[in-house]
């Protein structure tokens, strides 16, 4: 199931959307595109012809082309679509809030601290913190909340590099966007 957007298409469009949603993210293969929340719409315009709308996580995300190619392949091979067009759309902008609960669980399991939701940050910053970016982030290895920022930018633009003060392991944190 794709989170955030209620299903509105025909049963065929829903099925194609589900299939496209099973494609793994090329850079974070632990997540599917559905869990990442980057699929925006699926329109069947004629028999065998489908248009998919995809939104990038970051403006410069180099994975978008690979995602589009994978979606085309899956819809060709598994659904017999003859013509698949993948369009990139910018609005509404993707947010880390679009990552599903299952996606967050998988990120933690994979050793990446998931992004906090806007709701969590708002609640915490209303309570005490003046700078939401520095709210406590839990170590995905040992669960400690005693972690420190090493660098705002890590292996990809969407992650920050942190270190756990308790278990001393470095880890990636999926930055809130």
């Amino acid at each position: 199931m794709v989170t955030g957007t209620p299903p509105t298409g025909t049963p065929l469009e829903e099925e194609l959307r589900r299939l496209a949603g099973t494609v793994p993210d090329p850079e974070l293969p632990v997540l599917t595109l559905g869990e990442l929340g980057v699929l925006r719409a699926v329109h069947v315009s004629a028999p065998g012809r489908v248009e998919v709308e995809l939104t990038p996580t970051y403006t410069g995300c180099p994975a978008v082309e690979a995602m589009a190619a994978d979606i085309e392949r899956v819809l060709h091979e598994s659904a017999g679509m003859t013509e698949v067009t993948v369009r990139t759309v910018l609005a509404p902008a993707w947010s880390t809030d679009d990552i599903s609960a299952e996606g967050r669980r998988k990120l933690t399991e994979f050793g990446i601290a998931p992004p906090r939701t806007t709701r969590e940050i708002d609640a915490a910053s209303a309570a005490r913190e003046p700078i939401p970016l520095s709210l406590a982030i839990r170590c995905p290895h040992c669960g400690s909340i005693d972690t420190e920022l090493l660098s705002r930018f890590s292996s990809t633009a969407c992650k920050a590099l942190r270190r756990c003060v308790s278990c001393r392991e470095p880890f990636d944190h999926f930055k809130e966007l």
């Binding site: 970051y58 410069g60 910018l90 947010s95 930018f153 633009a157």
Partner: protein, 251 residues
């Protein structure tokens, strides 16, 4: 494209800012003082490159525009073409430009015009760019005598380029209302917000806010008209060399 000419010239101005700064930051690859900064600067460059691709695609073929135009055809601000210098110069350039870009994109995102979708997306990224520049300015300014002096020299050296960004860009807010309606760009307000933000960071970093002119006879700034500083031609020669020598090369 169906975009009106004024919107195209605005897309070229913003797209060239992003493209040229992206290339400058990319020049740090292999040279940054620590690995984390190498990665950070490359990530910021990648965000900017993504913006440039979208903006230049509104104007024409992105590769043609990036690799086949002569120096005079580029519309970027002079501040983004300035050489990397030492790490402090790069950070001063980042502080000045990312603060401008962040404030501008926030307005464009709210205005609902032609650039709103990109601006709404990019403003979330520029928040991280600005934060990165701010944290380093504080650390170097309020650091050792050496780091303080070098950061001060850097913010002083680039100060004369900081008036140019606030000359209105034609077509950027075409068809929008005034900023008071939550639309359009009030350039004077943008400039005073920029000054307040940058001065605040410099003061907290124990640095003196530079006193030199930002506009006028002794200041620089005609990049939006296609007039550039000497280092730009050298950078462009390097950036375009491969494509011009081997047209259509891929790998």
């Amino acid at each position: 494209m169906s975009t009106v000419p004024a919107t195209r010239s605005a897309a070229l101005a913003l797209g060239d800012d992003a493209l040229i700064l992206s290339h400058r930051l990319g020049q740090w690859a292999g040279h940054a003082p620590v690995l984390e900064e190498e990665v950070a600067l490359a990530n910021i460059a990648l965000d900017l490159l993504g913006q440039a691709r979208i903006l230049l695609s509104l104007v024409g073929d992105e590769d043609e525009l990036a690799y086949r135009r002569e120096e005079r055809a580029f519309r970027n601000l002079q501040v983004v073409e300035q050489p990397n210098g030492d790490f402090a110069h790069t950070l001063a350039r980042q502080l000045y430009f990312s603060t401008y870009q962040h404030l501008l994109y926030a307005r464009l995102a709210a205005g609902g015009g032609a650039f709103a979708p990109l601006a709404a997306k990019a403003v979330k990224e520029t928040a991280y760019h600005r934060d990165h520049a701010e944290q380093w300015t504080l650390r170097l300014g309020d650091g050792t005598t050496e780091s303080h002096d070098r950061m001060q020299r850097a913010v002083d050296a680039l100060w004369r380029f900081t008036g140019e960004p606030f000359q209105p860009v034609e077509g950027l807010d075409a068809g929008l209302g005034t900023e008071a309606d939550g639309q359009g760009v009030d350039w004077q307000q943008l400039e005073s917000d920029w000054l307040a933000s940058v001065s605040g960071v410099l003061e907290r970093a124990t640095l003196a806010v530079p006193q030199g002119p930002r506009t006028g006879a002794w200041a620089a700034g005609a990049g939006r008209q296609g007039l550039h500083t000497e280092p730009f031609g050298l950078m462009l020669a390097e950036m375009q060399h491969l494509h011009r020598s081997h047209p259509g090369a891929t790998w």
